[in-house]
């Protein structure tokens, strides 16, 4: 019996070591490509251990005029402001719905829930955000359309508020003469850190990783986020290759070199990889909550 368990554990370890390698290998290739000399890439393609290393790609990126730092700044701004705003709005909507005193709460809950089942789709949304609100080529295009609030987060928060915050606390706050806003800010928020962190994390990842809004609403390269910059570079290369096969060399020469592209991708993914060990716990917790209803 003991041996049998050990056998299973061994099989488990072997499987997961293999799996871990499969997960990590593409990143290794990406990183090593970003450190490869351009001539070596032409000669032998991307390699896990390049024949000639070079820091040139990173020198190019960190040179002031490359525009990449600007894209980075935009991504950070969008992520920070978007996350803060969306957590705030969702919490403000969710909290009253967790209170029995809230009039029409079932109707409101249904209205929120219905948006999780049915939507007009991409084209009508685009029409609303461009025709009624002129978000095209503004930084708000990254933050507001589609992402600012979703019914799922509101439901998650409402359940948390209703189940974990004792009614007595709210009542004692009222007794002390605190208004609803004060109760919300001084009692509810400090007690809700776990759910705020979980929802905040999900929003944060969504904003940092988003490329769709940028693709739909942003055409001005000065406003590109990291994801959109990367997307544009990849598209330009595909475009040149498919449309001008004769003089690819000339046109490609004006593009960032292969190693630079890979280096931008490395820089785009780096913050997430570095922060992951710290938020991993909340991330896993978020999945569990999400799985219950979702």
């Amino acid at each position: 019996m003991k041996n049998e368990n050990r056998g299973w554990a061994l099989a488990g370890h072997l499987s997961f070591i293999f799996y871990t390698m499969i997960v990590l290998i593409p990143f290794v290739l990406l990183i090593s490509a970003s450190f490869t000399d351009q001539q070596a890439i032409y000669a032998e393609g991307f390699k896990f251990w390049p024949s000639k290393f070079s820091m040139e790609a990173y020198n190019y990126i960190f040179a002031a005029d490359s525009g990449i730092m600007r894209a980075y700044g935009i991504s950070i701004f969008v992520t920070v402001i978007g996350t803060a705003a969306s957590v705030m709005i969702a919490a403000l909507l969710a909290y009253p719905l967790s209170r029995k005193e809230m009039p029409y709460r079932n109707l409101l809950m249904f209205l929120i829930f219905f948006t999780m089942l049915f939507g007009g789709g991409m084209v009508p949304s685009y029409m609303v955000w461009t025709q009624l609100f002129d978000v095209k080529n503004t930084i708000w295009a990254y933050i507001v359309p589609g992402f600012l609030m979703n019914g799922f987060n509101v439901m998650l928060m409402r359940t948390f508020f209703a189940n974990t915050i004792p009614k007595e606390l709210i009542e004692s706050g009222e007794m002390d003469g605190a208004g609803e806003f004060k109760i919300f800010a001084k009692i509810i928020m400090p007690l809700s850190m776990p759910i705020l962190a979980t929802v905040g994390l999900m929003q944060c990842l969504m904003y940092w990783n988003d490329w769709q809004n940028g693709k739909i609403y942003i055409t001005d390269p000065d406003l590109f986020s990291v994801q959109n910059l990367l997307n544009r570079i990849m598209e330009d290369i595909q475009f040149i290759k498919t449309n001008m096969p004769m003089n690819t060399g000339d046109a490609l020469a004006s593009m960032p070199s292969d190693s630079v592209r890979m280096a931008i991708a490395v820089i785009g993914v780096l913050p997430i990889l570095l922060a992951y060990p710290f938020f991993q716990k909340y991330f896993v917790k978020g999945i569990m909550i999400g799985a219950v209803k979702g």
Binding site: E101, T115, E180, W211, M234
Partner: protein
């Protein structure tokens, strides 16, 4: 509760049963206002925007001035092969992802449960869930590093190893993509979805296993006779919910991992990429809008239908 205002003596006969005390609850209404306003603009107004599908959209004239064409857009969509291809792709990919994905995630969770070292278990769990945090744009670069025609690892290193002299223009060859996309999808998602199953395995009462061990059950028997039967409700529920989402595809996968290469349309276009390309002016906007409405409506019916099945199966697990 304080039903304030004893309004009986006033001249105006107020609604007697009105339990709503706005004097006390107005701050709560102020709180919900921004969120509701956003839902109105972002979710409800676009629902009415479905009428666009019945118009011949002409941006020069503006949407409201564009001519009504009735069901013409739908007719065009369904007389071309596009509707068939995108529906087939969306559903077939989803089916494979759902069936194979459940098996892989379950297998992963069961194996993870065999790892007794807490540290190793946490480490594996963290690493295998990690790809799910990576944006599709970055993943498109990872795929490109392997499959790029001139510089990719497969053409330059793996093929010479295998003694293949040929190059494959991966982004031009539709026939390989069902396998490539399936691989990429699982690379990104299996670890992540296994966490849910793992959580419910950990929750299983240990006394079942002890009793089985006393009766001389092997580990394999314990897994097939205890773990999997106990997990069945979770598996069935997640599967039904997944089937309900059958009409929606993982958009980033089909758009980014393929570099939106037109040559791959036959095997990689889904309803979502079709609508998106129409919106970006790379396809027919009328047909795309029609495809969007088609997706919204059939998708909605499927969600309702399968939620109903979940409800029959286990009332508590249903969405509504």
């Amino acid at each position: 509760m304080g039903q304030a205002i004893p309004a009986t003596s006033s001249v105006e006969p107020k609604k007697k049963k009105s339990k709503i005390n706005f004097k006390r609850t107005w701050p709560l209404f102020v709180m919900v206002a921004p969120g509701l306003l956003y839902l109105l603009i972002n979710n409800y107004i676009p629902m009415f925007g479905i009428f666009i599908a019945f118009k011949d959209i002409n941006f020069a004239k503006g949407i409201f001035q564009s001519d009504w064409v009735g069901f013409k857009n739908f007719e065009f969509l369904f007389t071309t092969s596009d509707a068939y291809i995108i529906t087939r792709n969306t559903i077939l990919y989803n089916l494979v992802f759902l069936v194979l994905g459940t098996v892989l995630a379950l297998l992963c969770a069961i194996l993870l449960n065999e790892i007794k070292s807490k540290f190793a278990m946490k480490f594996y769990q963290a690493v295998i869930a990690m790809p799910n945090l990576i944006s599709w744009v970055i993943i498109s670069y990872l795929v490109f590093a392997f499959l790029g025609a001139e510089t990719g690892y497969v053409n330059n290193t793996i093929f010479p190893w295998l003694g293949v002299d040929d190059w494959i223009m991966w982004y031009m060859e539709p026939k390989y993509w069902p396998y490539i996309l399936t691989t990429v999808h699982f690379w990104k998602s299996v670890g992540f979805s296994s966490i849910v199953y793992f959580a419910s395995i950990v929750g299983i009462d240990h006394s079942y296993y002890e009793a089985a061990r006393l009766d001389g059950a092997t580990r394999w028997q314990q897994i097939t006779k205890i773990t999997i039967p106990i997990m069945m409700p979770v598996i069935i529920m997640l599967t039904l919910l997944g089937v309900g989402r059958m009409f929606y595809s993982d958009f980033g996968l089909f758009y980014q991992a393929t570099n939106n290469s037109g040559a791959l349309f036959n095997t990689t276009a889904t309803i979502d990429t079709y609508v998106f390309n129409g919106l970006l002016g790379l396809g027919d906007i009328g047909m795309s809008t029609a495809a969007g409405v088609y997706q919204s409506i059939v998708g909605f019916i499927l969600v309702i239908l399968f939620n109903y099945l979940v409800r029959i199966y286990d009332r508590d697990q249903a969405l509504f």
